[in-house]
């Protein structure tokens, strides 16, 4: 049971800022995922939490007690942090059997033999490996080894569980089932989790909140629907799901709604966008973000609507992916597979859930 707080956490390697001023509170029992492309600083952040990497500045508090604080010169070594960690490469010790692997953290906690036996078998039961206790790691599949790593991280009932891309070495099917197993365990044990991944589907499906990082900076913190529906900038919009970026110019603003003209070369496509963040004034340039599933394609309605030309339509099974030309802009749209289009055909499009964003970001 623990709350983890990162305050102004920074890490620089030479001239490069790996992590810049990260502030984050992971609530007790919360599942938080650090998500971003490689090199975004997510793993560095996790390793600073674990105590393997020393931050350049900032502090980390566990239940309001500093475990890392550059300002106060506090740096608790990893073994004193009461955390569990699952590594990308499993890191199951090949010279110990499964029982010994899982029992290892208990060595440092003064338990009786019987208690160790009970705790290990209990946690092996949680990961469905109770019949494998005496096996050696090389007799186990990748998925089973990953479960051993999970059991080992959980056996000492850590305050925080850290997972560093734990599923990226597994094959696709196994990855999906492990996702649910991990979440189910976390819900059952009500443990605080920090999870690192570059896989957005993993992040969206598992987490209470997703922290999207890029270039060492936190871009957005929010629930899965939040970051998908209300991205705060173009990076988040682009990184989470597919998105069309349409440059536009603000015409006028009334209340929370802006009327914009799409900068697609036709100068006669208008759109109403809700303003969720930022300040805009008429004449200003901005970007409208529209997800492909929110681009509705209908047969040509004649002059006046928003008209586009079909470039190609690709059959994907559950839907069709459609590439359109909207003036000088390429537009992706999802259509029903039964709705057949031919290249060169004129169509009318309409946008739902448009998101208005600054040009700069």
């Amino acid at each position: 049971m623990a709350e983890l707080r990162l305050v102004n956490l920074c890490k620089t390697y030479g001239d490069t800022n790996a992590v810049k001023d990260v502030n984050l509170t992971v609530r007790d029992g919360e599942f938080v995922t650090l998500l971003g492309p490689s090199g975004c600083g997510k793993t560095t952040t996790l390793r600073m939490i674990a105590g393997f990497t020393t931050p350049t500045a900032g502090s980390i508090l566990l239940d309001e007690v500093p475990i890392t604080s550059i300002e106060q010169k506090i740096l608790l070594p990893p073994e004193k942090r009461d955390m569990g960690m699952v590594f990308q490469s499993y890191a199951v010790w090949p010279h110990m059997n499964i029982f010994q692997n899982v029992a290892y953290p208990l060595k440092f906690k003064h338990f009786s033999k019987q208690e160790i036996q009970d705790k290990v078998m209990n946690v092996l039961g949680l990961v469905k490996l109770e019949n494998f206790a005496q096996r050696m790691p090389d007799q186990l599949s990748g998925g089973q080894q990953q479960r051993v790593a999970l059991a080992r991280a959980l056996v000492m009932e850590p305050k925080v569980l850290l997972l560093d891309e734990p599923l990226s070495n597994l094959d696709a099917k196994l990855r999906e089932s492990m996702r649910f197993e991990i979440v189910e365990l976390q819900r059952r044990l009500k443990i605080t989790v920090v999870y690192v991944t570059h896989d957005q589907a993993e992040a969206m499906s598992m987490s209470d909140r997703v922290v999207i990082m890029y270039n060492g900076l936190i871009q957005q913190i929010g629930s899965a629907p939040d970051v998908y529906q209300k991205p705060v900038n173009a990076f988040v919009a682009d990184f989470i799901g597919m998105a069309n970026f349409i440059p536009c110019i603000i015409q006028d603003i009334s209340g929370d709604v802006a009327r914009v003209i799409l900068d697609d070369g036709t100068e006669n496509h208008y759109l109403l966008c809700p303003i969720t963040s930022g300040h805009y004034s008429p004449g200003e340039r901005a970007v409208v973000v529209v997800r492909p599933e929110f681009v509705e394609v209908i047969p040509y309605q004649g002059q006046g609507g928003t008209n586009a030309k079909v470039v190609r339509q690709t059959y994907l099974g559950d839907k069709s992916d459609c590439l359109l030309e909207l003036g000088k802009i390429n537009l992706r749209a999802n259509t029903q597979t039964s709705f057949l289009l031919t290249p060169g055909q004129d169509v009318s499009v309409s946008f739902t859930n448009p998101i208005l964003l600054d040009v700069e970001r």
């Binding site: 990893p78 590594f87 990308q88 010790w93 090949p94």
Partner: protein, 574 residues
């Protein structure tokens, strides 16, 4: 079988001819090796079981009833055991420091800590006599500082042998363990840390058990080489009348007063051979058991252990080691070589190059030794490379049945101690060869035979591994483009393994140039080598000339290694 299919499908005469040439060469090599390796081995065994032309166990009975046999056996085991423990501890520690920690100046240490491996052990031993002999530099400095009349430590004897052996063998442990340390997944250690283990506890519970096969393998490798070493116990042990197996065999061979000297030394040799072969089997098994030392896994970044407060002690340790193992011995040799006379104070007036001039131009046997050793080493290395090419091609490409047998045979002279190899050659070639009616004993040819058979496996391994790297499809692509076997071999295979052929040549050339163990038993007047002359000058007490020649040899060896390193682009040599 694969070879047959290929011939059938192409059906060209020259391809069959190509194979026939190789197989013919292979048969010649095989017969030659039988004469040069198997025949001497057989003679050695036979001699150990013969007395007055009758088959008997009397030699062994006599040896096993002498206390001195047990003494030298125990001495050998004692110095080898302690020496290899010391060398392994030092080597493993360096490997860990350089592979897994943030110790500063890694490149510097990597270059300099390897130097003792390149210096011939007997020259290292001589250098330490200059430092810690009764009137050695370090002892003199100690006496001057402390006012004591007794030296601090006289190197002669078992502790000196242990010390010098450790100093000149730790690079083996370092080199063997560096790779496994580097390849070990750091997450394995981090998982222990986050589980609650401290850094030292992690070393004990995780790192050392995982490294055990590699560390154990290097320990046995060093132990074997120490059991077989002649130069160090000869230089450091003789003055204190401290004998080990190899030096005892050497003395028994030279003890012409005893009519049974050769039979007895053959018996002693067989004891040593049995130990060496058993150790080799154990070592192979330990190293094969490596399975888990290298566990794969994509690790984000190899995190280095932060030494923290241990940083300064680590740097002090490494600096001390560079001083003790590299700087002090080389400086001792150089200073001695530059001295005008023995025992004069070290001033600029007393520095001279006369010793170099004397040893190179005024001492005929030293000049002969330079020429002989260069010629012997170059000739042997060339023969080794040519034979290795044929053997490797037979094994890797043509997969001729029985060609692996050749590999086993050529390992023998390298695996058993050099002193024993020399004795076997003496016994086999003392009399003229049965059919040819020529004797190579007391000629330079017995040295050629000794060098080629002893170092053949070094060249063969280098060339074979290169050939194995070349996928057969590269040759096949040449074939389908119109080249026959000969042209494909010449245009594709040879250019691709060129570097390794050079490397194999140098790998054989360098140890042959400074060889002592075989040469000291096989040389004759006019056929001196660098090793025998340096050793001889040292035994005669010609200190200044010994130092001058030893320095020249050291410089040549270091220079050759540098060239090898450049030629192979850092793959071999240092």
């Amino acid at each position: 079988m694969a070879a047959e299919t290929r011939t059938l499908t192409t059906g060209k005469h020259n391809n069959r001819a190509f194979q026939t040439v190789f197989i013919f060469l292979g048969i010649i090599i095989f017969i030659t090796l039988m004469v040069l390796i198997i025949f001497p081995s057989w003679t050695l065994i036979k001699t150990s079981l013969t007395r007055e032309k009758a088959v008997t166990l009397n030699n062994y009975i006599e040896l096993l009833s002498q206390k001195s046999t047990y003494t030298v056996l125990v001495n050998s085991l004692f110095v080898s055991l302690l020496g290899s423990v010391g060398a392994t501890v030092i080597g493993v520690l360096i490997a860990w420091l350089l592979a897994r920690t943030d110790v500063p100046g890694k490149r510097f240490w990597q270059t300099f800590l390897i130097v003792p491996y390149l210096i011939p052990p007997f020259i290292g031993a001589i250098a330490w006599v200059y430092l810690l002999g009764p009137v050695g530099y370090l002892n003199k400095i100690w006496m001057a500082i402390s006012g004591s009349l007794a030296p601090l430590f006289v190197i002669y004897g078992k502790w000196g042998i242990v010390f010098v052996m450790a100093i000149y063998s730790y690079p083996i442990a370092y080199m063997v363990n560096l790779g496994p340390f580097r390849q070990m997944n750091p997450s394995l250690e981090e998982a222990a840390r986050i589980s609650g283990a401290s850094m030292t506890r992690t070393l004990r519970d995780i790192v050392l058990p995982l490294m055990a096969p590699s560390i154990g393998g290097s320990f046995l490798l060093i132990f074997m080489s120490m059991m077989a070493n002649f130069g160090i116990p000869a230089v450091i042990g003789f003055p204190a009348r401290y004998y080990v197996m190899t030096t005892k065999i050497y003395m028994t061979i030279l003890n012409y007063d005893n009519p049974n000297n050769l039979a007895l030394s053959a018996g002693l040799s067989m004891l040593l051979v049995v130990i060496a072969l058993v150790l080799m089997q154990v070592q192979r098994r330990v190293q094969r058991n490596k399975s888990y030392a290298i566990i794969s896994g994509k690790s984000t970044q190899p995190q280095q252990v932060q030494l923290g407060k241990w940083r300064t002690p680590a740097v002090v340790f490494l600096s001390l080691l560079v001083f003790v193992a590299v700087i002090a011995p080389l400086l001792a040799i150089l200073l001695t070589a530059l001295m005008r006379a023995l025992g004069v104070p070290l001033t600029l007036d007393n520095i001279t190059l006369r010793n170099f001039a004397q040893v190179l131009f005024e001492l005929p046997k030293a000049r002969r030794a330079v020429i002989n050793s260069l010629g012997l080493a170059a000739g042997s290395a060339t023969i080794i490379v040519l034979v290795s090419l044929v053997i490797s091609y037979l094994i890797v490409r043509l997969r001729v049945k029985g060609s692996q047998l050749i590999e086993g045979i050529i390992l023998l002279p390298y695996a058993i101690p050099g002193t024993v190899v020399a004795l076997a050659l003496i016994l086999a070639f003392l009399k003229p060869l049965p059919l040819l009616k020529v004797s190579i004993y007391n000629t330079i040819w017995i040295l050629v035979v000794g060098y080629v058979t002893r170092f053949l496996t070094l060249g063969e391994r280098s060339i074979k591994s290169a050939l194995e790297q070349i996928h057969v499809s590269l040759e096949e692509a040449a074939r389908i483009s119109g080249a026959n076997y000969f042209t494909a071999f010449k245009d594709i295979v040879l250019p691709l393994i060129k570097t390794n052929v050079f490397a194999g040549w140098f790998l054989a050339f360098i140890p042959a140039l400074t060889e002592l163990t075989l040469s000291i038993l096989l040389f004759s007047v006019n056929n001196e080598t660098l090793g025998t002359v340096v050793y001889g000058l040292h035994q005669e007490g010609k200190v200044l000339m010994t130092a001058a020649l030893a320095f020249i040899v050291t410089i040549i060896v270091l220079g050759l290694n540098f060239i090898t390193n450049r030629l192979t682009k850092n793959q071999m040599g240092f």
